[in-house]
């Protein structure tokens, strides 16, 4: 069974502080993704990666950075957190290439920015 693990699962941060959300996958998948989920908006793609060393902007990248130091790890970084970034963040991994699009999601990280 594919496994994607996120940490922390819950985080409370102050406005202007730095937040790092981490994601680890043991599936040896090339592609990894960060989404946020908000009521009324569904899931929206923030950043994604095709492999170690690569990061690409998704649909809502402003205020976020991403880092993919290895095949297994993909981090989402909020350098200066704002209350509007309060949300639930999901990491996902997938094979990419010609596969039919099977994505495996982590359990989510709930971030509250005060």
């Amino acid at each position: 069974e594919a496994a994607v693990t996120q940490s922390p699962r819950n985080k409370v941060a102050v406005t202007g502080g730095k937040v790092t959300l981490s994601c680890n996958q043991t599936n040896n998948h090339n592609n990894m993704y960060w989404y946020r989920q908000d009521t009324g908006h569904g899931l929206r793609l923030i950043h994604y990666s095709y492999g170690a060393g690569s990061t690409e902007k998704g649909d809502i990248p402003d205020g976020y950075k991403a880092s993919r130091p290895s095949q297994e790890n993909f981090s989402l970084i909020l350098e200066l957190a704002t209350p509007s970034q309060t949300s639930v963040y999901f990491c996902a991994s997938g094979l990419g290439g010609s596969n039919t699009g099977q994505l495996y999601f982590g359990e989510g990280s709930k971030l509250t920015v005060l």
């Binding site: 009324g40 569904g42 899931l43 793609l45 994604y48 095709y50 094979l95 099977q102």
Partner: protein, 110 residues
Amino acid sequence: GQQVQQSPASLVLQEGENAELQCNFSSTATRLQWFYQRPGGSLVSLLSNPSGTKHTGRLTSTTVTKERRGSLHISSSQITDSGTYLCAMGPTGGNNKLTFGQGTVLSVIP
């Protein structure tokens, strides 16, 4: 950008009834996927269906790409089917970049 609209927003069924969930998308996507999200939890991929009809267990997905619509039929609903069903569409190519709808919240009651 691409948009995905799901209906209904919520649905309440008695156990044993069938559910029909709809998904409309704004471009001729080549891949339509359905995900299940348990209350307060993660997402699980149910079906990936670029066109036509696919079955798995009590689930039937139908995608009509030319008409930019898809549906998910759940037969003989069970209480454990309760949760949010998300439709997502993706472009061609292998980056698996998906655009999600807002979901249908299904509640199955005894």
